[in-house]
């Protein structure tokens, strides 16, 4: 499903990061751990097709991301990869529903109001579908951000510190939702975090993550 090989990234200041090879199976849920500044976000952006690595390759769902032409990579990202950011970053000039509609049209798949309602319903956001982002609470906005990442049924769902802006209760709910929805949509989930609340939540539900965490710790050391 996801495979990286010999990934490196060179930063403008000259430092260079080497990432160990990584293989993720379909439907698996991974935790990507590490201190801030350790390259978690860099790796996540590379996996999401947002950042071209200096060398190495990333294959997602059978597609070698950085050999695709720019336009095809954009489209691939829209259709197959969902990303949840630290801040929800909803488009402020549009309602929740329009934000999701926009995700459908930029990905080049047809308008599907039913799917939008379904996702919003799953996130208990249906009643807020005509609300503008500034009318939402932090937790609601983050849920809308998750809905937007999920609306196109992505094969790969990436989450970059999805809980850092949330309080305990909301953080817990967000993690549970991400995990449950990814499972029910059969999406592969990778959560990048240094939030202990997330670690604890994952530890309870997906015990096998422990092993992966160690791998990702090695990631940081390299």
């Amino acid at each position: 499903m996801l495979q990286t090989s010999r990934l490196t990234k060179t930063f403008p200041n000259g430092t260079s990061l080497r990432f160990p090879d990584w293989k993720v199976g379909r439907g698996e849920q991974w935790l990507l751990l590490g201190e801030s500044g350790s390259g978690k976000t860099t790796l996540l952006h590379m996996l999401g097709g947002l950042l071209r690595p200096a060398s190495g390759r990333i294959v997602v769902n059978g597609a070698d991301l950085y050999t695709l032409p720019a336009r095809a990579l954009d489209r691939f990202r829209g259709q197959h990869i969902g990303i949840v950011f630290q801040q929800p970053h909803l488009i402020r000039s549009m309602t929740v529903e329009e934000n999701l509609l926009l995700a459908q049209s930029f990905a080049g798949i047809g308008k599907d109001i039913f799917r939008i309602r379904e996702v919003l319903h799953a996130l208990e956001m249906e009643h807020k579908r005509h609300a503008y982002p500034q009318e939402l609470s932090q937790g609601q906005a983050q849920r809308a951000g998750i809905a937007r990442a999920l609306v196109n049924r992505p094969a790969l769902l990436l989450a970059d510190e999805p809980t850092s802006s949330l309080d305990n209760r909301n953080a817990d709910a967000a993690i549970r939702l991400l995990s449950d929805l990814a499972a029910s949509e059969r999406s592969t989930l990778i959560v990048c975090t240094h939030d202990d609340r997330v670690k604890e939540a994952f530890f309870k539900d997906f015990m096998f993550e422990l092993r992966h965490e160690r791998i990702s710790n090695q990631l940081e050391k390299s």
């Binding site: 976000t41 954009d74 488009i91 329009e98």
Partner: protein, 387 residues
């Protein structure tokens, strides 16, 4: 969701900026549209009203004044000429047609013109109702006179002395309306026509009868050179050419029109700068919006097109509003205009207005170009890792 909807929502998110930019563009375009329409209508009126008249002969004085008073019925006449002089000029071999005019009275601001049937045939006037005058004190009125004063054939009216005021009423002799002219879109709509005899009898001139001026048509091209010289040298009259004086008048107005035009162009450019600044500033607030759109699958090209579309949509709407504004303003001016001789009409559309719209689009395009390039270059990863 299509590109138009996205751009429009972005524009709408900043209502004040949107309103400011629309206003700036609309005012610039509106002024240009108004000038374009106004000048073309004035020019057309001037040409229409002078059609068929090669030369005007009248009392010595300013030739422009003679043209204004005898063709456009705007200014005061230069004075009077004797009927005898006029008759001998009309009999000149180089003159094909001569139409005498006697001015001096008005009815509710509409000028009463003493003339003969030559005036009717010169301008191709037709009756909407009734018949032409046959006896003294019978009159035919223009379409606008009939409409403004709610007059019909058979009504009686009193003229007053002078060209504008309704004081000094000639209440001893009423005029009888025998006919109403069809609307021509020329000065004739605003005239009260009668025979020369009516004017003379009204003013009790028995011995030396005088007229105000005479409209002349040349018999040949040669007369164009010879006749004005003959009149100016060997008679007590002067000759003025409508074409020449209209051109002079237009050149005089032109200085003012040019100033207003440059002002409007400056306003349009200012609007362009304002659109540029607005888009550029909004980019800073919207870097995340743009990056997130890229994450959602929008290509660099789509982001570029979106910003360009925003700029052009803004200026296109502004220009459209401006053109409408220009028409409304001109119509309003026409409605409240003091001199009915050259009334403006805001309901006429010109093909050149499409150029105004195109200019507006171009300004939007140019103003949006730099912000669009900036947006095109936005690095998603860099933006999103800044939180």
């Amino acid at each position: 969701m299509n590109a138009f909807q996205i751009s429009w929502k972005n524009l709408k998110a900043n209502r004040l900026t949107l309103a400011l930019n629309l206003l700036l563009i609309a005012f610039g375009t509106g002024m240009l549209a108004m000038l374009l329409l106004g000048m073309s209508q004035v020019g057309e009126r001037l040409r229409n009203n002078a059609r068929g008249v090669d030369l005007v002969a009248g009392a010595k004085g300013s030739p422009l004044q003679l043209i204004l008073s005898s063709i456009y019925f705007i200014d005061f006449p230069t004075g009077n000429i004797s009927e005898e002089d006029a008759r001998s000029l009309a009999a000149h071999p180089m003159v094909k047609k001569a139409v005498p005019l006697a001015l001096g009275d008005n009815y509710a601001g509409f000028r009463i013109v003493g003339t003969d049937t030559g005036y009717v045939s010169l301008y191709g006037l037709e009756l909407a109702a009734g018949r032409f005058w046959t006896k003294p004190f019978e009159i035919v009125i223009g379409a606008d006179v009939a409409r403004a004063q709610e007059l019909k054939t058979g009504d009686r009216i009193y003229g007053s002395h002078g060209l504008t005021s309704d004081e000094d009423l000639h209440d001893d002799h009423p005029y009888v309306i025998t006919g109403v002219l069809k609307k021509r879109g020329s000065v004739a709509d605003n005239l009260v026509l009668t025979s020369l005899e009516s004017v003379w009898q009204m003013h009790g001139a028995d011995g030396a009868r005088e007229i105000t001026s005479m409209l002349l048509q040349y018999r040949s091209r040669m007369a164009m050179v010879a006749l004005p010289v003959t009149i100016n040298r060997s008679t007590a009259m002067q000759a003025a050419s409508p074409a020449k004086e209209s051109a002079r008048l237009f050149a005089l107005i032109g200085i003012g029109v040019d100033a207003v035009r440059w002002f409007a162009v400056a306003l349009m450019l200012l609007a362009g700068v304002s659109v540029f600044v607005s888009l550029y500033n909004s980019l800073r607030e919207r870097v995340y919006d743009l990056a997130v759109m890229r994450v959602m699958g929008a290509s660099r090209g789509a982001i570029f097109a979106m910003i360009v579309l925003e700029g052009t949509l803004l200026t296109a709407l502004g220009s459209l509003a401006g053109i409408l504004l220009g028409h409304c303003a001109l119509h309003a001016i026409g409605y409240w205009q003091g001199s009915p001789q050259a009334r403006m009409d805001g309901l006429v559309f010109l093909p050149q207005e499409a150029l105004l719209l195109a200019a507006g689009l171009c300004i939007g395009l140019v103003a949006a170009l730099l912000p669009a390039i900036q947006a095109y270059r936005t690095d998603i990863s860099e933006t999103m890792s800044k939180i």
